[in-house]
């Protein structure tokens, strides 16, 4: 079982690494986007699947880190080695402030995160002297650290893959660490966890901050790919889409958010080429997922696997 899984991951990695050589620049670009938004979806899912908190403000961390990088690089001429960590820090610091939302639960948490998200979007949209308003910040260069500079989209693709793989390993360790187990305990029964000596609010707060850190990292990767950033990046729609990706792909899994990202972005690219109301199609996909595959694509695959095994046992 474990060897098949390892083999599967290796095959997947080989396919991912071979993609730029096999497919053209269009697919390479789309795949880069899928990975970046998959990472954002993973950060949302870290809260959703492991603590039960449904955040709708993750576009804020994503956007704040993207804006920070863009402004530092284009207006102040800072090199990547300073701008990228600054972006990461800015998004994470925002998460440390927004983390007060964990004082609430359930629908109140959702409402508060929506409100916080709109604050960031409003600032990006209205404070045009600083953020560039509707136009945003443009002409972000490719990242370069000293002589090691990215010059093509293919090179950037591999950089993103490397970061995603590192994040995947980090995620796997985190969710199976004592801290990660504690989060699942809180999701299952908060009163019981408190009675065992856990200050559950603090656990959730740090989970929120770590999740914000991952979203910020996605923001940094995004701005260097996209080369510009505008208020849409921090909009409610992006927060919802990230959650949607996690749910469509399968919450609580490493691959789920990335699969969901591929489905959502792939469909949007394809459908919007011939149908103006592509958001309607996205809505339908979401409804179908909730009705017939509540555990997402990964859950669906797992269920099919069980069926196949049952059939084999029967014959």
């Amino acid at each position: 079982m474990n060897t098949t899984r390892a083999l599967l991951y290796l095959l997947l990695l080989a396919a991912v690494l071979a993609l730029p050589a096999v497919a053209g620049p269009f697919w390479t670009g789309l795949a880069t986007q899928v990975y970046v938004f998959g990472l954002l979806a993973l950060s949302v899912d870290l809260l959703l699947a492991h603590t039960g908190l449904f955040s709708l403000c993750h576009a804020s961390f994503f956007a704040v880190s993207a804006y920070t990088v863009a402004i530092l690089q284009t207006r102040h001429g800072l090199p990547t080695i300073a701008a990228a960590p600054a972006g990461l820090a800015a998004g994470t610091m925002l998460a440390m402030i927004f983390g007060i939302a964990v004082r609430t639960r359930g629908v109140y948490f959702i409402l508060i995160t929506i409100a916080l998200g709109f604050v960031v979007w409003g600032v990006a949209y209205r404070w045009s002297s600083f953020t560039g308003g509707d136009n945003g910040v443009t002409n972000v260069p490719f990242p370069a650290i000293g002589p090691a500079a990215i010059t093509t989209h293919t090179q950037y693709y591999y950089l993103v893959v490397a970061v995603i793989v590192a994040c995947g390993i980090g995620y796997t360790v985190l969710v199976s660490s004592p801290f990660g187990l504690g989060l699942r305990g809180i999701k299952a029964s908060e009163t019981r966890m408190r009675s065992l000596g856990y200050r559950t609010g603090l656990h959730l707060y740090w989970a929120f901050v770590i999740s914000g850190l991952v979203a910020s990292l996605a923001g940094v990767l995004y701005v260097y790919y996209n080369r510009f950033v505008n208020p849409v990046t921090g909009s409610f729609q992006i927060s919802v889409e990230a959650a949607l990706m996690a749910i469509v792909g399968g919450t609580g899994t490493l691959l789920g958010p990335f699969l969901g990202s591929a489905v959502v972005l792939g469909l949007r690219n394809w459908v919007s080429s011939f149908f103006e109301l592509h958001l309607m199609v996205m809505g339908l996909v979401f409804i179908c997922t909730v009705l017939w595959a509540p555990e997402g694509l990964v859950g669906l695959v797992r269920r099919l696997d069980i069926w196949r095994r049952l059939r084999r046992d029967a014959s």
Partner: protein, 249 residues
């Protein structure tokens, strides 16, 4: 005065609106004592437990743990000071395995719960302690099964094991035998009886025979107040207790 009492409750009251569920209860439990709380339904036993443990804040009065005033501390800090409790309705982590349940109890009061960079299996001492905890309640063979697959009675045993594994010196057991069959009751009461004497036990129990067999002293609650406190024999002989507990003969 030689040793501070393990648990001391001073004039504790808890009101829900106009209802005084616990009304001026005082009791003192010596270290190592087995104290059983009995009383008819609605006597305020579970509410008193909630207030002693901090699950609910008290309206007035004080709670002292080994001589320290813990009245203003939240439940998780009281747990860190060496108190543990079980719940009347099993509150175990249904989606986790039995071993994971106990792991959470074992690391709950130490710094390992914050560890983020090492997987749980890489804490062999914790695993060993979890298996030992399961062995004590006879569930070691099912360590890696999810809780969803074990029976109601086994959940009660797991609930008990969770409290034990915290390493607490004071354990509050809220009807550990609730809803169990006769043989399961006997198993749980044997486990309580076998607890080492450096652990202080406060227990709510409806079954008079179980209660009176385990107790060093018994407190009878009625309408939120202490009706009587005494040895099991005294309680058994008291006509007042018979009246509130069994009704008029």
């Amino acid at each position: 005065m030689t040793e501070a009492p393990a648990v001391q409750v001073d004039a504790l009251s808890k009101a829900f609106g106009g209802l005084r569920a616990v009304d001026g209860v005082s009791l003192t439990v010596a270290p190592g004592e087995r104290r059983v709380l009995i009383g008819p339904n609605g006597a305020g036993k579970t509410t008193l437990f909630h207030c002693i443990f901090g699950t609910l804040p008290a309206s007035s009065g004080r709670v002292l743990l080994h001589g320290h005033d813990v009245t203003s501390l939240p439940d998780h800090q009281r747990a860190a000071l060496g108190m543990a409790r079980t719940f009347q309705i099993s509150d175990v982590f249904a989606e986790l395995t039995l071993a994971e349940n106990l792991t959470l109890a074992i690391i709950g009061t130490d710094r390992r719960k914050w560890s983020m960079l090492r997987r749980v299996p890489r804490f062999p001492a914790v695993r060993e302690a979890a298996l030992e905890g399961l062995r004590k309640v006879g569930l070691a063979a099912r360590a890696d099964e999810p809780v969803q697959r074990i029976s109601y009675g086994e959940r009660r045993q797991l609930e008990f094991a969770l409290a034990l594994c915290t390493g607490a010196q004071v354990i509050l057991l809220d009807e550990p035998c609730a809803g169990l069959s006769q043989s399961e009751r006997q198993r749980i009461s044997a486990m309580v009886a076998e607890l080492p004497r450096d652990i202080t036990v406060l227990m709510i129990e409806h079954d008079m025979d179980v209660a009176l067999a385990l107790a060093d002293r018994v407190t009878v609650l009625h309408r939120g107040a202490v009706l009587l406190e005494g040895s099991p024999a005294e309680v058994r002989a008291d006509p007042q207790v018979h009246e509130v507990y069994f009704g008029h003969a």
